[in-house]
Amino acid sequence: MILVKDLSIERSNKKIFENVNLSLGSGKIILLKGKNGSGKTTLLKALLNLIEPSSGAIYWKGKLLKKNLYNFFNHVTYIADRTSSLSNLSVQENIKIWKKFFLSSISNSQVDNILETLKLDIYLDQKVNSLSFGETKKLEFLRLIIENKKIWILDEPLSNLDNESIDVMAQTFEDHRSKEGSIIFSSHQISDINVSEEVLL
């Protein structure tokens, strides 16, 4: 679905990476590896049309991404390495806002189930700023389920998570793959997530 061809990006005339080729089909999980500053986040942002490539192109369903942008956005969830939940509101209110905002059809019991597996159900009425960093991060992943989109673009999803949560993530990824979804994520730590392709930047 997403095809990246000979993508090179330079910022302030400094080359970040050159000639990256990717193809993200359905049921595929791609892991971006590389050290700090190798351009993992930059590549993910380029996939969201936030950064103009200096050469090469990104295609979505055979058309240039730029020409087909809002169609692409209908199919993609992006989670950055920062948390977007509103820290002054409670967990429950955040979930409610997300459900309204993404026009989600997910049922309450489904959300409760996930909260239980993520061990967030006890914090339901607490404000987000009283949660620990790892917990807000887990809360952030709830968006993947609420948005219910085909393509997940995740920036460093595994950092700051304990082993238990990483296992939950791996399970979620596997579920998503079995539903013909595709994932591209960056990470610098080794995990036992079953990926179909690794790209070293």
Binding site: R11, S12, N13, K14
Partner: protein, 232 residues
């Protein structure tokens, strides 16, 4: 005319042009000042105070002209992705600010004997004061952003937003009652100024333009160099 949008071509042309322009500006200034102070006649109303005009009017024109140039280069930079436009914007803004300041100060000196006041808040004077502050804000934006790309484009956007002030400056005297008199020289009608006073005015205008170009060349070249060192 490609040198107007291409840094390396500009550098080449500038190297040829700089010295002649500088010399020309010095010559024009000396001729113009001699004309302005000795050879031009007194005005029938204002006496010799009218000589302030030979500084005031050229600087006012150039303050506006500089802003127009910056607006055009901002459009070039934003819409046609010509990075040289941003270089020009950064380099030229302080020159425009200085011209505006000269215009305001000389106008103030002229206003005291003629109108009987240093400053009034009529539409022309207020809009020129705002023009000056807009120039100052442009310089400040240039100073306070760390990210170069963001800074350049924000400056360009601000210049375009601020250009609503230009027609107000130019036409305020025609549209509204102001203490400031309407334009003496306009395209549509015969100038209502005597040739003996028109000559020094034109000489001084060209002297100002040449001086402006000379300083602009220096500033643009330093700007290009500073970016080159940024690249490597």
């Amino acid at each position: 005319m490609i040198f107007l949008v291409n840094p390396s071509k500009f550098n080449k042309v500038a190297d040829y042009v700089f010295l002649p322009v500088l010399i020309l500006s010095i010559i024009l200034f000396s001729i113009g000042l001699i004309f302005a102070f000795y050879l031009s006649p007194d005005d029938y109303q204002q006496g010799s105070t009218v000589r302030i005009m030979y500084v005031h009017v050229p600087s006012a024109w150039l303050a506006l002209l500089t802003y127009v140039i910056m607006s055009l280069y901002s459009i070039a930079g934003l819409a046609f992705r010509i990075p040289f436009g941003f270089i020009i914007n950064t380099a030229v803004a302080p020159i425009g600010a200085v011209f505006t300041l000269i215009c305001i100060i000389s106008g103030s000196l002229w206003g005291k004997p003629m109108w009987g006041t240093w400053w009034v808040w009529d539409a022309r004077l207020t809009s020129v004061a705002i023009l000056f502050i807009i120039y100052v804000i442009i310089i400040f934006i240039n100073l306070s952003f760390e990210n170069r790309i963001v800074r350049e484009k924000v400056v360009a956007i601000f210049i375009l937003v601020g250009s609503v002030n230009l027609p107000i400056v130019k036409f305020s005297v025609d549209w509204w009652n102001t203490l400031h008199q309407p334009a003496t020289i306009s395209k549509l009608s015969k100038p209502s100024i005597d040739p003996s006073m028109m000559t020094p005015l034109i000489i001084m205008t060209f002297a100002f333009i040449m001086m402006g170009i000379a300083i602009a060349i220096l500033r643009i070249k330093t700007e290009i160099i500073s970016r080159k060192s940024y690249l490597s």
